[in-house]
Each structure stands twice: as C-alpha cells, then as structure tokens.
C-alpha cells in the first residue's frame, strides 16, 4: 500500500490503527522525492528525519501531527541545514537555529524531510527564478506548466502527493497563487499571527508565513499549532487566537459574501467565471447571501503598483546586508567595493537585481514623494476600502487567478494587472486569505480565494471548509507523476 497522497488526518488514522509507521512512510516519501521530476529540492534532511522517526516512541492518539512528514520552503531557517533562499549568494549558508514555525511543528513531532525551492529570495510569482532553474507543475503533461511562486517547491511537492503539507511564505500571493495553479489549499493568516522569526525577510510589512495543504482541515490544524505570540518576533500578535479545528461546522446559512464586479469584469477565462458562478448558486442554496458590489476602478488599478513599489523599496533595504563582506557567499576583490560588486553580480539573478535597482530608484529623494511615499498613502486608501467591505461581509469571494497554470515559455500579449495581482490586497491589509480548489479546465486546476477581516481566521477557514464540502475537492493531487 502507498502512504503518499494522504492528508494529515488520513495519515494519523493509519498510524493510530497500526497500519503503518512514520519510519515506513518516511522511506516512501524519500523515495518519491528522489524521483521528483519537477526540480523542487534545495537540500535534504533524510538522516535527521530518519532519526526523528526512530525516536518517536508510541503513537500519540490525540496528536495529529505525530510522525507527519513535511517540506520546508528554503527561505525558512533550519538549524544545521543549508538555507539558500534559492540564491547563489546564500548557497552555502547554514543557520544556527530553526525558524519558530519549524520549532513548533517539530515540538508536535512532525518531521521536516527536505528544503524546497522558491523564486530567488521569494521575489517572483512564476517558479522560474530559483538558482537551480525552473520548477514545474505536476499537473499537465510533461514538465511544461508553471506552478507559480514564489512557494514553487512547496506547491509542486504537495500537489505531487509526496507529503501532506509544506510551509510557504506569502508577500504578494506567493502561497495562494501556486495553490490555485496546483489544486491545493493555500492559507496565509492574519499578519502577525504566525511568527516570522527565522524567515528571510523580503518585505517585512507584507511578509506572512503559511501552508500549502490538500485539505482545509489540515490548514486549520496547522494554524492552531503554530499560531500565536512569539517573544522572538516582536511583530507577532499578543491576542489570544481562536482555535479553528473545534469550530469547524457545516453551516453557512446567513453568511454574507461580497463579489466585486469590477474585479470579475477583468477575468478573461469565462470557464473559470462560469464555475465560480455555479459555486455562488450552491452557496445561495445553502442559505448564504451573495451580493455583487462596486469598487472604484482607480483603487483596483493602484493595487499592483502599490505592492510593487513598497516591496522593492523594502527589499533593497532589507537585503543590503548581503554584501559578501560580513554576510553572503563573498567573492574576491581588491577593495570592499570590488568585493561587493563581484559578490552581488554573481550572487543575484536578474529578477532580484531588477527589483533592487527599482527599489533604489523609488527611494531616491527626488522620486520618493511620487513613488514610495505615495504608495504608502495609496496602501492606506486600498486597505480602508477593503476594511469597509469586510466590516459588512463575512468574506470577499473571487477567483484566485484569472487563468490556469500557463506554459513555462508562454508569451502573453498583455497582462491584466488587476486580475493577476488582486490577492496582494490581503498583504497590504494583513487580511487572512485562503485559496482552495474550485475546478479543473482541461485537466488543470484553478482556485477560489476567500478573504476576511483581520483576526477572523477561524471564521474564514470555516467558510473555506464549507466551500470544500460543496466543491468536493478534498485531498486532490496530481497523481500522474509517481
């Protein structure tokens, strides 16, 4: 019997029933990772994982994470294991500590098995800019489809069925977009509810840690375990977080949902819109109230440039320490300028260089008022607009992506930035947001996104759990790769 393609809950049931053991499951996970065709691996932790599995002792019936293997995005620090951020500049850096999110999972006896790739330093949405090349989607024939990014390895690995879940990070949509392309649940909670201690900072005011799973229940379980205050991250909330799993109930009657007309109008794929509308009908039959609302198109047009200017500006500042002088894979040079130039020339890919250069431009004294300062003010307008909506509604519902996973080398005539980048609203406002499978087109998945008010993570996941019941897309994996 194969123990891949199982959710956390399903795997736990098998452990409790004595039908398999973490050591057996682990060997199957390792064998599948070694045969991976989608270029997901950065570093392996096989021996450490084997030791952890061996040391587990008796099965813990009330601990669903006992012996569950998982993958870690390689911008999360792992003690004693290279953490490259998928950048040549950090390709030999070994952290001295674990990120808090990993410590908390390991404390529950979950087992990290491998570090998986990403767009370099989390800057990208394609899975094409990691230092080891393109990461592909297990859906679609061959290795020809984008899986999205930046949590490309996390999404590809979970969609391949290797493990029940992977850790990811999300600065603009880096969990929720690949979740749509790979038929997964991708959840980023309210900003500050999961400690970012040990996460390589890209844009601190927008960065979140979250999960890629194959069920909403698993996302809820993981949030219950890792969420909450951390004295090592002063941006974490001190609020007591409501537990999600005990409050998952099959009831959506009376819930009010908003659908934004001006956003829907931007989506080009009418098959996605049709499936989305069919779900709205099902929700209405369940007693939910759906209202189509209007949002100023100027506010929607401002989402992408606001995100882009702020993220580039913070990124160039935050990564100034990657100089090769005191940090990073330093290259030789006669002067400190030469060392930095040579280190950063060879260490960064073009996408990262491009964003740093633009960040430098946005922060210059003469450009700042019309770029960075104005983006911060626009952020306020966007967040106020969506906060008002979310006060009146339990959630905003939208298709997560305007298209299914594109071909790797597909050249698109134009990009509709509103449709492509609308998920960034949740990063600008710190709103909890989840993508889950909505349908398939020609064998390729696409997702629905659900977003709520800050700190209503439990309510949000309950809505998502109800939607999962309606779509029937539970524990979906590609299945054609193994």
């Amino acid at each position: 019997m194969s123990y891949l393609n199982l959710t956390i809950k399903q795997l736990h049931t098998l452990y409790v029933e004595g039908k398999t053991t973490p050591a057996l499951v682990l060997e199957e996970v390792i064998a599948s990772l070694e045969q991976d065709k989608h270029n997901i691996l950065e570093a392996t932790m096989y021996e450490e994982a084997r030791k952890a599995a061996k040391a587990l002792g008796a099965v813990e019936k009330d601990n669903l994470l006992w012996g569950v293997p998982f993958l870690v995005k390689d911008n999360l620090s792992t003690k004693g294991i290279i953490t490259s951020g998928s950048s040549n500049l950090l390709c030999d850096y070994v952290p001295l500590f674990d990120a808090t999110v990993i410590s908390r999972l390991v404390a529950q006896k979950a087992i990290p098995v491998a570090k998986v790739t990403l767009d370099e330093l989390g800057m990208g949405g394609s899975g094409k800019t990691g230092h080891k090349g393109v990461t592909t989607n297990p859906y679609g024939k061959g290795e020809k489809r984008e899986v999205g990014g930046s949590s490309s390895g996390s999404a590809s690995g979970v969609a391949s069925g290797y493990v029940p879940f992977a850790l990811g990070s999300d600065t603009g949509d880096s969990i929720r977009k690949p979740a749509s392309y790979a038929g997964l649940v991708g959840f980023k909670p309210t900003w500050g509810t999961i400690s970012r201690y040990g996460l390589y900072s890209f844009t601190p005011s927008l960065d979140h840690i979250g999960f890629l799973t194959r069920s909403v229940f698993d996302a809820a379980l993981l949030f219950d375990v890792v969420g909450g205050n951390d004295e090592l991250d002063l941006t974490t909330t001190t609020k007591q977080l409501e537990k999600v799993v005990p409050n998952l109930t099959r009831n959506i009657k009376g819930k009010k949902f908003a659908v934004i007309k001006e956003l829907i109008d931007q989506f080009e794929d009418q098959d996605i819109i049709k499936t989305f509308n069919e779900l709205l009908v099902k929700l209405t039959k369940e007693g939910a109230v759906i209202e189509t609302i209007n949002v100023d198109i100027n506010v929607l047009n401002a989402i992408f440039p606001t995100y882009f200017v702020i993220s580039c500006a913070e990124a160039v500042s935050n990564n100034a320490n990657l100089s090769g002088i005191i940090f990073g894979n330093g290259k030789k040079g006669d002067t400190y300028e030469d060392i930095m130039m040579n280190t950063r020339r060879d260490g960064f890919g073009l996408q990262v260089k491009s964003r740093f250069i633009m960040g430098n431009y946005f922060l210059k004294k003469e450009n700042r008022p019309t770029h960075y300062d104005r983006a911060l003010k626009t952020r306020n307008v966007i967040v106020k607009t969506f906060t008002e909506i979310l006060k009146k509604y339990d959630a905003v519902l939208l298709p997560a992506t305007p298209i299914v996973a594109p071909l790797i080398d597909e050249v698109r005539k134009s990009t509709n930035e509103i449709a492509v980048n609308h998920l960034a609203v949740s990063n600008l406002g710190g709103f909890p947001s989840v993508t889950l499978p909505l349908g398939f087109k020609q064998g390729l998945p696409f997702g629905i996104n659900v977003t709520s008010e800050p700190y209503r993570d439990a309510g949000l996941l309950n809505i998502a759990w109800n939607i999962e019941q309606l779509t029937g897309y539970y524990n979906v994996s590609a299945g054609d790769t193994l």
């Binding site: 001295l96 005011s205 040079g333 002067t335 250069i357 633009m358 431009y361 306020n380």
Partner: protein, 94 residues
C-alpha cells in the same frame, strides 16, 4: 529611462549589470513607470496618511537578560576566513 541610467542606478547599490541586462531592466522599468501613474489617479492621494504596517506597531522595551550564547566555533561555522577567535574581514575603511 535609458539602460545607461539603469546601469548607473545599479552601481550605486553595488550591482553590476551588463548591457543586455541593463536593457532588460530598462524595459521593465518603463512598464512599471506606466503602472506607477495609477498611484496619482486617486483623488487627494497626497493628503492621505501613509500606512507602513497593516496594524499599529508598539515599540517594546524589554529588560536586558543575560543568556548562554553560542560557542565561538559554532559562530565561526559560516565564515571562510577565521584566525584564532576572530573572523577576518577585508579592510573597508580607506
């Protein structure tokens, strides 16, 4: 913006671009500048308050508490150039 200006912007932050890379970034930059124009289209935008973090951040002052730290050999493990108990750095002050 011309590629020469992009290459100059890169040098300011110790990023070297070749001609081809400079042109690619210049093309991307032109597209982004078109997008940035949307920031100015919101009414009275420059009278708005800036939003830096999603939620207000409180400064937290904590007591200084001594704690065990890593041993030197652990701290030096990522450095390629260690002598005795020192990491050797290139001279950066001229």
């Amino acid at each position: 913006m011309k590629k020469e200006q992009i290459i100059k912007l890169g040098k300011e932050i110790f990023l070297l671009l070749n001609e081809e890379e400079g042109q690619k970034v210049a093309d991307d930059f032109m597209y982004i500048e078109e997008q940035v124009k949307y920031l100015g289209k919101l009414e009275n935008i420059d009278q708005e308050e800036p939003l830096i973090f999603p939620f207000p951040q409180k400064g937290v002052l904590s007591e200084d508490v001594s704690e065990d730290t890593y041993k030197p050999e652990v701290l030096f493990s990522n450095s390629k150039n260690v002598e005795d108990e020192f990491i050797v750095l290139p001279k950066v002050v001229k």
